[in-house]
Amino acid sequence: MIDREQVRKVAHLARLELTDEEETQFSGQLNSILDYFEQLSELDTNNVEPTARAIDVVNMTRVDAQESYEARDRILEGAPDRDDDFFRVPQILNEG
């Protein structure tokens, strides 16, 4: 079970401000999601190697050759706020 305290912690880590109602709402929703995933525990995985990905490929690498991305301005345009060549973000309240 995920309680309100954990919801607050996760929200803080993601720098989200939640209202009381949202905390209640998300506690419920997160619990249903976790319950849903809990169904996986029915399977016996004792003899299965942990896996991080479904496709079995290793050493996918690329050559170190430079190629500038032409539409760089569109990336800047896509941001909520820009200031000339910079992305502009709101005041940062605490480090880390």
Partner: protein, 494 residues
């Protein structure tokens, strides 16, 4: 600096370093954008490093090669199987809200490097410092705080993501260091190694080499650890040493005043020469690492690993040792010559061309280094080639010219290169080593200075220098100084 009054408890510092080192690749770790330093803001960005939807990162093969080579040079075990993980935190320097790093399966572990310091008598003190791990990761972007230089006074921030996705290796040391001097030397040796390997320029001013320090103190003789403090923001080796010395004193004072040492991150302030608390909110660093699903794992085969190992150059510590055993140089000379790989290679080439080691070392460490520093030149680009320096050293060795003449013609050789022998001959600077020719000059000098001669014979033997000077003057400095001394002595005392 760490000594307390004799009756008080003696403390020792326990120090470990975390070093971030930028790899010298053309492109970013997972995308094709340039890594060039000093480009206009947000010039080197692309959908991959910005984490736009639908993009997939692909590892730069050079990053893997450089990381493995650095791991091998640090005597690490290279992981046969390694992977990337997401380190998650929400801060505007990260475009994706996570940093691709390596968590539980780093590319290299369990290594060491050797630092060399000097005791009060000038003898070398060598110490092995453990390397816990080395892993690959991407750098974050750079924040410029609007309306103020300081974060606290700003109302908004501007972000430049050119640095986001720049390839780094993070090297974590064991807590084997005990003083600011040792820590600074460890960082210097690390920089020497990555520069020798050619995997990083190690430039601290441009942020290619950044060191964070973990430090605690404990009474000498105990083996538990005190509360650990992290120090950041040192941008020179000297600053690392000074920040640690300051922090050791601060922590000792806190303990003696019965204050609690808080586990925290502190910033080194260069202006006031002290560390200040960064006051991070507790519990805000919970990175919730998980395996990066966009990147496949890495397997380094034994064949690949050994191929990269065979490409490693001779490393600084090996070279220092060789200079002592092969050339009989002092540990000090060996350290100075090997500090820079290009200088060491120049010395090796000079010695290989037949020059005696010690005079060659003296020329390189003295006049030539002085010239390079003043002119801001690199030894690999100056016209004077190692074989020509060897020839110059040979001319002194076989008494063709004196050391003084060699110093006189050096500026010409440094600027234009060419054969010192040819230069000496064309300028008529060949040393006069014929006793008869020197005797003739001596006779003239003595004949022209009867007063001085009388005083000398009357006991004022200090005048020998005067006579030597006169002979040198009349031969434009070409008379063999040793022979001149001998002959003068004979004449004066006959």
């Amino acid at each position: 600096m760490t000594t307390a009054a004799p009756t008080k408890t003696q403390y020792e510092a326990v120090i470990g370093l975390e070093t971030h080192c930028q790899l010298s690749t053309e492109t970013k770790i997972f995308s094709n954008s340039s890594t060039q330093f000093g480009a206009d803001p947000n010039c080197n960005i692309d959908p991959v490093c910005m984490g736009l939807p639908g993009t997939l990162p692909v590892l730069n093969e050079k990053v893997l090669e450089y990381a493995v080579k650095a791991g091998l040079a640090l005597n690490c075990t290279i992981a046969p199987y390694s992977k990337f993980d997401r380190k998650q935190y929400f801060y505007p320097d990260l475009p994706k809200n996570y940093q691709i790093s390596q968590y539980d399966l780093p590319i290299a572990e369990h290594g060491w490097l050797e630092i060399e310091l000097e005791d009060d008598a000038g003898n070398p003190l060598r110490k092995r410092i453990g390397i816990t791990r080395l892993h690959m990761e991407e750098d974050a972007g750079k924040l410029v705080h609007g309306g103020s230089d300081r974060l606290s006074g700003s109302t908004f921030s501007l972000v430049d993501y050119n640095r986001a996705g720049i390839p780094l290796i993070e090297i974590v040391s064991e807590p084997d260091l005990r003083s600011g001097v040792e820590a600074a030397e460890y960082a210097r040796e690390l920089r020497r190694i990555v520069r020798y390997l050619g995997v990083s320029d190690g430039n601290m001013q441009e942020g290619s080499l950044r060191c964070d320090v973990n430090i605690s103190i404990r009474p000498v003789g105990t083996d538990t650890f005190g509360t650990k403090v992290e120090i950041k923001n040192m941008n020179s080796f000297n600053a690392i040493e000074r920040a640690i010395n300051y922090e050791i004193e601060r922590q000792i004072k806190a303990l003696e005043d019965n204050e609690r040492i808080v586990q925290e991150t502190r910033l080194w302030e260069e202006g006031s020469q002290r560390t200040i608390s960064m006051r991070t909110k507790e519990g805000s660093s919970d990175y919730r690492y998980f395996p990066e699903p966009d990147l496949g794992p890495i397997q380094v085969s034994e064949a690949q690993r050994e191929d990269w190992r065979s490409q490693l150059p001779e490393l600084p510590a090996q070279r220092r040792q060789r200079y002592e055993t092969e050339f009989g140089l002092s540990s000090y000379d060996a350290r100075v010559l090997t500090d820079d790989r290009a200088i060491a290679e120049y010395f090796d080439a000079t010695a290989a061309a037949g020059a005696s080691a010690k005079p060659a070392a003296n020329w390189i460490m003295g006049d030539i280094s002085g010239y390079l520093n003043t002119e801001k030149l690199s030894i690999s680009t100056i016209p004077l080639k190692p074989a020509e320096l060897a020839e110059l050293v040979g001319l002194i060795d076989d008494n063709t010219i004196s050391n003084k003449i060699a110093k006189d013609i050096l500026p010409d050789l440094l600027a234009k290169g060419g054969s010192p022998k040819a230069l000496v001959e064309s300028k008529g600077l060949v040393q006069v080593s014929d006793p008869k020719a020197i005797e003739e000059v001596i006779d003239q000098v003595l004949a022209d200075h009867p007063d001085e001669l009388e005083k000398y014979r009357g006991g004022k033997t200090k005048l020998l220098g005067f006579f030597v000077g006169q002979v040198m003057k009349r031969t434009s400095g070409r008379a063999d100084p040793k022979l001149t001394n001998q002959l003068l002595n004979k004449k004066l005392n006959s």
